[in-house]
Assembly symmetry: C2
Homo-oligomer: 355 residues x 2
């Protein structure tokens, strides 16, 4: 029996989570394993219900589970609230509370979806298979921040701060991942300007000594944002900070065609993990059976792989998704001519059947 | 007589500056105006010569000129130096010293160069004409930074800090620019996480009240990095911070095909200005007559427009560039089949002849 905290969240979150749970149910019967789902309110819905993005007691509950599966949180409805009361605070509390410092965001171009990429055929034909390893519980997201009045002028600040030990542990994750892939790590920073980036670079160099089989290069973040568009095939593992990773992983997800396809895993020490699609709550299409559930379903697959060591089951899900695509089924976000347009529920059902 | 500080810098800097000066000479004779060039060493070459990225006395000289034209600074040769001794420090000293807080980076897709864009035809056919207005002397670039040892762990930090008055003045530049364009400002921040972004957003809202004819929207930086690739035609003026502007303006420059084409102007109060191509020193092609001088030539055009109020001369240069492209002349970076490949010098010469 595996205890899973399930956080549907806001917008399309509940709809895509529903399909992921059906997929897990199928895995459960097929692989003879039991999952217990503990439903938790977090994000905008928790603000509406309890006045806070996530209650302390709920956070404690989540921490007791083996893994967490999250839909998405946030929406324009709660955008006017002060910083500490926004839905996004739930994400930060979960990430920080679970100490999941390593955010893995694979951006893979599916052959079937090549046409959905905004990049030219010559570029996508070279293939895109990038793993962004983003530091998740440090940097400007968690550093000291505040406001003050100085000489009558209001001033606000955030602090980008990294320690050697923080950089070391995330760098290790990147090098380990690269070993199982194409053995290339591109560490992205702004070492020509930022002191924190210089510490980052030095530390990554130190860690690299333990991985002589992995090729390390450094790239400035401004250049990385260009290179991702110019020739994404040059990248294998991208290792970067919380803030830069936020920007670059979204860019990477766009160039592979649909953000509705991309899963993520956030890992800490041991087998604890937080799994969520990369996409947001998409309030404009919420409740209309239009959302693509694949990113959340693939996040569940990552959960099986990393938190429950169920590689076979993870592969079975990934394979079921590939079959659905091969058979031409598409939700609206990835629809191209001559494909079969399906809704959220039907896509979930088809994937279940393929397992 | 206009006094211009000329800073060739490193790598391809001197080559592209040489062509821009020939163009200015042509303008000088054609429009009956005199320029005095004051050559200044800055960047890696100054480190080699004087041990510092720029000497204080040279900075003072630059400040006395009406405008500054800069090639590019930096290179791997100086990458190992400590933070305050890097070539890039010259840039920061120049920007800070001249108080040029508004960095204008137009990213325009030339019809002739559509094929050079990495984006699909459907996307570029909608046109790309973006002006990135980047705050240039604040934020993490200039905020408090340092290192310390905490509980035996080395820690480094940088501070993203903005005051209301800093945001107000850069926002005004964006709104004024939008008025002369498509009247749309997209302000990019990370207000769901950063306190400095929340101040940024509030202040931009306040400034917007004085520009009811301009449409303002806000976008998170991660989303902006996706939207730039997905549908760049949605943008007119992008207003953003120093750090985000660094990343997004490079991305914007890549999608229009060649960074070798893009100029920038950095303005402060009054007519003072620092003009430079967006591209770097490109050490791999330096000294081989391969660099594209157009970005620097167009930077000189911006100088004529903003610092010397010579709109006609600026237009004449821009027009001369367009003719050269229309006639099929291309440096290597923008070369496509059936065009006429030329070197740095020949491209400069052709543009001069077209004025
Ligand atoms: C919603 C937001 C706080 C979050 C982040 O910036 O980390 C999101 O963009 C993400 O990348 O997961
Ligand atoms: C060279 C570097 C310091 C500089 C910056 O980050 O501002 C450059 O990337 C730019 O955009 O002009």
């Amino acid at each position: 029996m595996h205890g899973i905290a399930v956080i549907p969240g806001d917008g399309i979150g509940p709809e895509v989570i529903e399909q992921a749970l059906l997929v897990l149910d199928k895995v459960s019967s097929k692989f003879g394993v039991k999952f217990e789902y503990i439903f938790i309110d977090a994000g905008g819905c928790a603000i509406d219900k309890y006045g806070v993005p996530i209650r302390e007691e709920d956070l404690e509950l989540v921490k007791k589970c083996e893994a967490t599966l999250l839909g998405a949180v946030g929406g324009p409805k709660w955008d006017g609230l002060p910083g500490n009361l926004r839905p996004e605070q739930a994400l930060l509390k979960l990430r920080g509370g679970l100490k999941v410092y390593a955010n893995l965001r694979p951006a893979v171009l599916y052959d079937e979806l090549k046409d959905s990429s905004p990049l030219k055929k010559e570029i996508v034909d070279k293939g895109i298979d990038i793993l962004v390893v983003r530091e998740l519980i440090g940097g400007m997201y968690f550093g000291p921040k505040g406001r003050e009045v100085k000489d009558g002028d209001e001033v606000a600040y955030d602090t980008e701060v990294y320690s050697k030990s923080e950089v070391r542990r995330i760098a290790k994750v990147a090098f380990e991942a690269a070993r199982k892939r194409k053995k290339k790590v591109t560490s992205v920073d702004k070492a020509n300007i930022l002191e924190s980036s210089r510490l980052w670079r030095e530390t990554v160099e130190e860690v690299a000594k333990d991985y002589p089989d992995v090729e390390l290069s450094h790239m400035y973040v401004d250049n990385a944002s260009m290179q991702l568009v110019k020739d994404p095939s040059q990248f294998d593992v991208i290792l970067t900070s919380n803030m830069f990773g936020d920007i670059l992983s979204d860019e990477a997800s766009m160039i592979v065609g649909s953000i509705g396809m991309l899963a993520s895993a956030s890992l800490g020490e041991g087998s604890v993990g937080l799994y969520e699609p990369i996409h947001g709550t998409a309030p404009d299409i919420a409740g209309q059976d239009l959302a693509n559930p694949i990113a959340t379903i693939l996040s569940a697959a990552m959960m099986l792989r990393y938190s429950f060591d169920m590689e076979d089951a993870a592969k079975a899900i990934e394979n079921a998704v590939k079959i659905a695509l091969k058979e031409g089924y598409r939700t609206k976000d990835i629809y191209t001519e001559n494909c079969k347009l399906v809704g959220t529920k039907q896509m979930g059902k088809i994937i279940c059947e393929n397992i």
